[in-house]
Symmetry: C2
Subunit: 376 residues, 2 copies
């Protein structure tokens, strides 16, 4: 069995098990167990994957979840979490956790930020007080949280950005990455570097060369899914990703829709995260094997059928569209729960099936069949 | 075992198993199984016990839950629920359901109500449109929902109320009760009559005599917990309840705190319902074996201990006060869930233990020990 092989793996070791074109199936050993890729990582921003318990995440086969450095630093604070045994203990999750560096949230949520060589000064979105993040601070926070995979503190250029802005962000990202690696002193945590470079192939490749020039247990592509037309990502990632080291895991940050996942797995990406499945769930949008639906629709008012007849999640096994619509309209918490559980099940099943088909040599047929479902 | 005895019971049969003073342990057979009393019934206003799934309710040993006629009539409508197989099927709950008559919500939530002999005309709180409830309409709604226990449509006087208002409400309540019984034509549903009469012993006893003069499978005391000083209820119920038929279940509507439950079980009450454990949970208030706490408190900020060391619910087994405080402060849905689960576990354990002690002849010691915990 898979677990027997992985028992011999060291923390940080990545094993490429099978390729189909550029698509990859692999295993990554972390301090809290093996992650089997391709994998989707549910987002647990504030030490909770919104509305769900750890036992539910186990049940739907989540293997690794995300925590957000920016949010957890502000509230309740990493020192408090550390004192209580670390993020795993705090939130009752005993499998791997990846934390982002906080950099992206500083850009998207805070105000009055000032970037210097040293780091970023900003006013936080909660009470407007002054905060400071730098490579060293971000590493320390993530180490205090006890994260299994620590993301480098980078500078992600907004979209659209000028060539100069892109160049500056690449330059500081690589200088900061060196400081991140220097600051890391927790052997159980794996540091992933982040490739920037905007949407131009040449600058992406230059950043990739710089970042992968530093030996690290994994690499990510940042700066996608930041507002650009999604076709640009679909076009660029397949050209860039295959140049990442083959023997290291590859993570495409903040992506995406089921279609994005299929296309990007095909481009050689191993790991994904996105708030979308839980966020849209709370707004009534549900992914199904027949495409996306919104449970608010009048036509579901008396619909006795489950959201997705092909789904075996608790929601689909027990409740009708009519009931979920009622919960949504009535503003009931249970609606947010049942919808979130379904959407995450859908995402995790998608990456799990992708893995299975890559391992079995049937990836191309599977991919083609699935893509037609999501291209509308 | 208990279930073997109850296999022989008919729907509507109540078996008084043991008494300790006025306190009673019994079993009530419904179309969806036996209810073992004393019992607390979680409130599922809009076809969901807020934030929880049916499987969680099973796990914490809920035996019977409430649905609200007023809310379900307005949204999604009883005809829709009936079409989808009834309330049990709609919400995925296969144990007993009791529904109230809608009368109380008309008084507490709607505007411009007009009481006539025929029924009550009102404008609903959702869109202000005109609605009408009467004994016949209420019975039909509850039968359409497929309720196991149907509450009579009564007139509950507000507090404080004049002697004339009390008298009028008693008079119309008994006339409406006769119409309720007449309108009932669903053999699987049990109709419970409701005793009114305000807070004066003589009028309570008069109403009790009138209502119990009509042969029904159960009786409730209404018009308590409507804003009166709670001592008045503590004083009056022990004088009134023992006059209810001994061979029928007794339900005290809308009550109450853990202390109320202990005192009222001691007064001979078998069934309770209250939104309190779930409502206050969403506001951070938690019941514990050491008394009530509010998780917001600064002093729990770094507290690694569970809410209640004597509790074996999922919340207490897996999470610290510090984590629950964090979820509360961050406004996370999971906080509402975990708190609700804990409080309902607490309530259900309390009635379950009460039953056990009544059956074992140790009720007095248990009651005394527990009351001291909740009198502060």
């Amino acid at each position: 069995m898979v677990n027997q092989t992985t028992n011999k793996m060291k923390i940080g070791e990545y094993k490429l098990q099978k390729k189909s074109g550029q698509a990859r199936a692999g295993q990554l050993q972390t301090a809290h167990g093996v992650v089997e890729t391709p994998i989707f990582m549910p987002v647990g921003t504030k030490a909770t994957v919104k509305s769900l318990t750890p036992v539910e995440l186990h049940d739907i086969k989540a293997q690794i979840i995300l925590g957000n450095t920016y949010h957890l630093h502000l509230r309740p604070g990493e020192k408090l979490i550390q004192k209580l045994g670390g993020l795993h203990q705090f939130m009752g999750w005993d499998k791997p956790i990846l934390t982002d560096s906080g950099g992206f949230q500083v850009f998207s949520l805070s105000s009055l930020r000032k970037i210097t060589e040293e780091g970023v000064e900003f006013r936080n979105h909660l009470d407007g007080s002054k905060c400071f993040l730098s490579p060293e601070v971000s590493m320390q926070i993530q180490m205090d949280l006890g994260s299994d995979i620590i993301m480098a503190f980078d500078d992600c250029a907004e979209y659209p950005a000028s060539p100069q802005r892109i160049q500056d962000s690449m330059d500081i990202t690589i200088r900061w990455l060196k400081r991140c690696k220097e600051a890391m002193n927790r052997p159980e945590s794996l540091l992933f570097g982040i490739v920037q470079g905007g949407l131009v192939y040449d600058s992406r490749m230059k950043s990739l060369e710089q970042v992968t020039g530093i030996d690290l247990p994994g690499y990510a592509l940042g700066g996608f899914s930041v507002g650009e037309p999604i076709e640009k990502m679909h076009e660029l990632v397949p050209k860039v990703a295959p140049n990442l080291p083959e023997n290291k895991p590859r993570y495409l940050m903040g992506v995406g829709t089921p279609l994005d996942l299929l296309l990007m797995i095909d481009a050689g990406i191993d790991m994904f995260d996105c708030v979308m499945p839980t966020r849209v769930a709370r707004n009534g949008t549900l992914y199904t094997s027949q495409g996306k639906i919104n449970i608010k629709k009048e036509s579901y008012k008396e619909d006795p059928t489950p959201v997705d007849p092909e789904c075996d999640c608790y929601t689909c096994k027990n409740f009708s569209k009519a009931y979920l619509r009622h919960l949504y309209i009535a503003g009931e918490i249970l609606g947010a729960r049942l919808n979130s559980l379904h959407n995450l099940t859908f995402y995790l099943k998608l990456t799990n099936q992708a893995r299975k088909h890559i391992l079995e040599g049937t990836w191309d047929e599977f991919k083609t069949r699935m893509i037609t479902r999501f291209v509308t």
